[in-house]
């Protein structure tokens, strides 16, 4: 896991997104991201990493069990985080939006 927290973590928002890239809330989330924010993809949203149309930030993270479930574990090890990592991210970010 790299770049888990931004330098400016105090004011950054943690976005947790569980919608597939086709879902209208996926694009709404993309539009709401600020440069210092952290995006965690969970459940169906991890498919965004395989989606050639999805424009997600380079430092996006994704839950490893959801990647593995969808056959994407081997391809995206760099982005993968555990539930434990997600807990730590929620500790560090008082402001969290679940999309």
């Amino acid at each position: 896991m790299e770049n888990m927290t931004s330098p400016n973590q105090q004011s950054a928002t943690l976005h947790i997104l569980n919608k597939a890239p086709e879902h209208s809330r996926f694009e709404a989330c993309m539009n709401a991201l600020c440069p210092e924010d952290i995006l965690v993809l969970s459940e169906n949203a991890v498919l965004a990493l395989a989606d050639q149309n999805a424009a997600i930030p380079e430092n996006s993270l994704a839950l490893a069990p959801d990647l593995a479930a969808r056959g994407l574990g081997a391809d995206f090890e760099k982005q993968a985080i555990s539930y434990q990592d997600l807990v730590r991210l929620t500790e560090e970010h008082p402001r969290i939006i679940s999309w």
Partner: protein, 136 residues
């Protein structure tokens, strides 16, 4: 390691419809392992189906309502299904059964039924409120 924080978890996606209860449980277990306190779990909308006492998945599948209630009981975590969501969707406890003269009740303890005030209180008392929605 930061000091222990207090969390409220809100689940709005139903088991066997969404992945929300599974993700929430995995997250909740890690919260407890990390030394955090879960103030309460609040089920809202379709999420109330997680509190069904009658869910009967095939024996070779995971049983999310049972796993959730075992987790809640083990750690003494209060869990509430929103009464407005629950009554419409057919989740009732014995008190509501008696009040509305229904043929039965189907709430799985330790889940309880209460109002949205429980969610507001969770908001006020917790350092973090995390939502687990359906994904469709």
């Amino acid at each position: 390691m930061p000091t222990s924080l207090t969390y409220t978890l809100v689940i709005t996606g139903a088991p066997w419809t969404s992945q929300a209860p599974q993700t929430a449980l995995a997250f909740a277990r890690e919260l407890v392992s990390a030394g955090h306190r879960i103030d309460r779990v609040f089920l809202y909308g379709d999420g109330i189906h997680l509190a069904s006492a009658l869910s009967t998945p095939p024996s070779d599948e995971r049983h999310w309502p049972r796993e959730w209630t075992e987790f809640l009981a083990e750690h003494g975590i209060p869990a509430v299904a929103c009464i407005a969501s629950a009554l419409r969707r057919g989740l009732v406890d014995e008190a509501e059964q008696a009040r509305y003269e229904l043929t039965g009740s189907n709430l799985r303890p330790p889940f309880e039924i209460a109002g949205l005030g429980e969610w507001v209180e969770g908001n006020m008392k917790s350092d973090r409120v995390i939502y687990f929605h359906g994904s469709v």
